[in-house]
Symmetry: D2
Subunit: 271 residues, 4 copies
């Protein structure tokens, strides 16, 4: 609609499709699910098996957690990555995990199938460049303070290194509203599609921070045309070390997945 | 979720349903459509007939336009109300129109079926009280700077006058994002349902300000559980005296209505 | 800096000076002080005498209070205006009071020297027009969600009715920051001066909502070039019916006034 | 005022003073000045000499520039650091420069006296930790989307590594206002002083983005109690490779410095 003159924003017909172990991001509808943090082998494997059984196509889980306070749980690091690797072996789900330091990009990339750049690091340009050089598929979340134009420019930092495997995820922006944790800006779904050729996902877990809103906002994201969702699921949310109040149980996730699949199929017929 | 201790926010089982000439707000799914401004009899009647034919259940149209500049078109006033009255006679559609002055509430209420309080007047408490005293159904739009709690408190100003016929409409809030005219906060749909017993609508026209986003955001609003939509339609958008870039043509509106009806029916099955 | 093409924004050399009973707004440095609400004759007279003794040039006090909840104290109305009138007789201070309803503009104008349009009514265009027609000096506060351009356009609604006696007051905008009640945007002081010929005041009481910040932000406003301040003072803040936590005691106000006078004099020398 | 329970936020009487080559941050009033970017030896030396002559106590200049677009000038890197080192030798001014990558902290620290963490990296927790471990004085700018509490928690990441030499700089937050580049939140000056023992600076150049606002907002910052300012100065702003519109000429800077010194002295007397 506007011409941002980026390679990310020149839709010349073809849209980007990223193949991750047979999962087609931007082609199939894909749900990425898993715990906020990798806390233990048992917690991760149980959750991974549950989300796989419910139809998730990828496993998410944080080994490096960017936390507001230095005294909060910071993630298991390498140990967490090894747990994720085991979860992938057992479930077959490709793994998405966040990387937060330029020094970690290359070795984290040996454990993960997709590297996530989180909202707080969206404009960590060194990290974006290193992610670009890694050649791995990159999930770039929107900064909580970022305009569409800035977000697409950050994708461009990765593309400019010759790595075309970038997909985006709206996760809520910061506004004056305090009822929700963030304001989930679903208008970014059609906006990204209009301005770029990259797949666009939605994260209703961080985007609302309220358990009861994950279902309606997930359904809304599908209706708006999102290519996929990233949803936090924990085998025992009440014991979680982070994001305790916004992680679904496996049972709730399975019910949601059933609705999402049916809605997605219906949207395909609707045209 | 939070307990706001308002009569608007005490859901004791029953939800409010408002009957406007047989249209059940909060019961049926209702699309309110029509031009931003009433500009002439011909423009209004042509648009009204088109939206009625496409399945809209109510007609919107502004006779008093709150405009940023005093030198912009301010609406036709009484003449506009008489045109709306004629459109109602010819199409059978109940009329929703904005009232902006306490002195006008009573006589505007003789022409309109529903009085709209616009975003800029959400916290015009005198106007809210007068609207409450009118006994008419009231459509209360969310202020572009308002929290959920403030919005429900404004509904409470009307309820406190003994008028229980209030329904709400999310129309986008003001954020740092400049790509869209406002940031349409669809999370207010489940939030209003959780915190109150009032019907909640969505206005994707003001909420995005971008023609190409009205369809995806309307579908998303339905999937999120909205009770209805308010959409700007103009028989000849390029000649409109206000909101030229966000009013649908009758043809585009008819296509959208078909999708909305089908999606709404599907959502009913989805449960 | 930008050319907004308004009569408010065409500085052709001369700046507006408004004479209110000998007080020169836009000429002298003027502090408007008094309670948030007129609560009783004793409270208002005691506060008025104290602020007069400390050097305030005008008395503020609300008789009609726009409150978030309909169940909060709404002001004394006519009774409050009569108390303000008495306070003016006893202290000689001209009175500034808020008007919230078009129907009240004319009769409130018989009690008050200056009519205030509050933040929530900044875009109540009917009220602006009525204020314009009243011929009274108008204090127009910035809406908590309003851009400079919208604010100046609201001034223009008053000017367009032939009333040139308008002055503006920055009172904080709504942002994501929750530490302060609002974010006081002092950059509006030089911005209003660059873009218009109208006097610009600052309200550090609503702008911060924190007692300990009123002094530093008042001094900052003077250094930025504000033409005056509007400050809440209450003879017994702990008993106040509204804004209990942000009203200065008379003693604190007197100390602040001394600093403000000295800083203002120094700024005059600094040039 | 609130008790954030951080080591940064426990003011037990003593406030932090950081000695950088004899300059006492948090003790003396300190102006840090220099170009946005180091562009050439001549540009940097000319600017450094000018700001030293006008009374700046430290030199700023970016060798690594975090730019919205990957195709914008990204800084001279090591070559820029060598130019800054030379400027320090010739003027005696300690050097402040931004570091954007954990891998660079240690070697950049050999060229710079103070490491700056910029707004976009405020929550780059890896970088904060590495900065903590460096033992160098750290200038931590506020993220454009960050609350006071988050900002102090980021300082805590540095303090928790045993590095107590942290000072903060308010540089404007992102709001709906588009007239200014950011909204400079001067209320953070008293807020930081109330909630922590760390020195607090203000950056009016990025905070407003408008040349004519730098003087009034700098004066306001001093009146609010800031410990210092960071101001962009360029020997030839019209030729600058970044921030062309907000860099002062040496002549304008010298005039401003004279006013700042006089105001600061006056504020000392005011008490």
């Amino acid at each position: 609609m506007k011409n941002l003159k980026l390679s990310a924003s020149r839709p010349d017909g073809a849209r980007t499709v990223i193949d991750v172990g047979g999962v087609k991001l931007g082609g199939d509808f894909v749900v990425i699910a898993g715990p906020c943090s990798v806390e233990s082998e048992e917690q991760t494997l149980r959750t991974a098996e549950a989300v796989a059984a419910a139809g998730a196509k990828m496993l998410r889980g944080g080994a490096f957690k960017p936390r507001t306070s230095p005294y909060a749980f910071q993630g298991l690091g390498l140990k967490g990555l090894k747990i994720l690797e085991k979860a992938r072996r057992e479930t077959g789900l490709p793994v998405v995990t966040e990387v937060v330091d330029t020094r970690d990009v290359s070795w984290v990339g040996e454990y993960a199938d997709v590297l996530q750049i989180g909202a707080r690091n969206m404009q960590n340009f060194s990290l974006l460049r290193e992610a670009g050089r890694s050649g791995k598929p990159i999930l770039l979340k929107r900064g909580m303070h970022s305009t569409l134009e800035e977000w697409l420019n950050c994708a461009e930092y990765i593309l400019a290194e010759g790595n075309g495997q970038v997909f985006l995820c709206e996760r809520g922006i910061r506004t004056f509203e305090t009822y929700t944790r963030n304001t989930l800006d679903l208008s970014m779904v059609p906006a990204v599609k209009a301005e770029s050729h990259l797949p666009v996902f939605v994260d209703p877990s961080h985007g609302t921070g309220i358990l009861g809103m994950i279902e309606p906002m997930s359904l809304a994201a599908v209706a708006a045309g999102a290519d996929g969702l990233e949803i936090e699921v924990h085998c025992d949310p009440s014991s979680a070390l982070s994001d305790k109040d916004q992680q679904l149980t496996p049972a709730a996730f399975a019910l949601l997945m059933d609705k999402l699949r049916r809605l997605r199929a219906f949207m395909g017929e609707l045209g």
